[in-house]
Symmetry: C2
Subunit: 211 residues, 2 copies
Amino acid sequence: MSKGERTRQTILDAAVDLASERGFEALSIGLLAERVGMSKSGLFAHFGSREELQIAAIANAAERFAELVFKPAMAAPRGLARLEAFFENWLSWVDRGGMQGGCPLQAAAHEFGCRPGPVRDAVVAHFRQLEQDLGRAVRLAVDSGELRADTDVGLLVFRLLGIVLAFYHRRDLMSHDDASADTRAAFAALLAASRRGSPDAAVAIDGASKA
Amino acid sequence: MSKGERTRQTILDAAVDLASERGFEALSIGLLAERVGMSKSGLFAHFGSREELQIAAIANAAERFAELVFKPAMAAPRGLARLEAFFENWLSWVDRGGMQGGCPLQAAAHEFGCRPGPVRDAVVAHFRQLEQDLGRAVRLAVDSGELRADTDVGLLVFRLLGIVLAFYHRRDLMSHDDASADTRAAFAALLAASRRGSPDAAVAIDGASKA
């Protein structure tokens, strides 16, 4: 890495940390310059505009996510073990990444969700990649025979995402002590219902109607 | 309502609409004054500070939520019917409230989740109320015998919240066509597993180990 590349990386790391605490809307060139101890003009030499900085910071956060969540999960054997590793890494990556606030990618999702443009496109690209990677992990657990052959992969990915979003909500906003206990219980219950040999929903409903 | 109260209400409605589109961080007295066609000093006569305005806007959004989600659900019979009405009202309240962006209370949850203070307290109060109301609706469905007697009420509330958060994510950020289809399928599957007469998770896991 050249000196210029190292400086750029230092700026982006600080930008992601700041966005974790305050969101991307609060990410001004001035505030960031103060954090990294550089002049505003020094920062502008690396990023021509606030938007360019936001896009690069989101890409940097997405790379950290891949390093801390996806890649180590790939070391686990295909199937449920890998899916479980993926999920556990996902729950802990914000802390392991040394970020003091919430998930910066989730912050970006909220801030740019309803504002079309290149920043939103960068956020959408990350979550599309996440859905693909998670979908592949689910499919391998179906192929290994651990999950039911009729598992709705897209629906399971959707429900896994919901559990993580509820975890962030409880941890960051509600300061619940049991945030990770409920989160792991929800994950275990969801997978139990999808395991090969478990009765499907139709049977469960039928059972209820006879009760 | 006096003229002053009506003006205050007009300002707060515009503030919530703006927060739905842009978040609360973007909610400046200047931008809001422009939206409602008042002078900045006229707005300051109603709200002494930006923080006071943010707190009042969050309270206003929470009242809209109660009017559009909780109160109409109370008209449904106790039990699953009321829980289903609660859920359906929750999915549609942003649209029915005429807001052009995402859920303003969810935006506030993200922006202030990691920033202690009176604004965050207002957001937490809303979500605590929501958890209580939803918990009561679940408990009545247990009491009516429709849900299993050993239902973990707190966990079910957590999982319902996760489904709605994933719905917002898909609808607002990912622009999925099937956002509400997956959402309703997730809700149906979750309730099916909690229905009286359905096998519990332990049985499902046991079944899987024998498969």
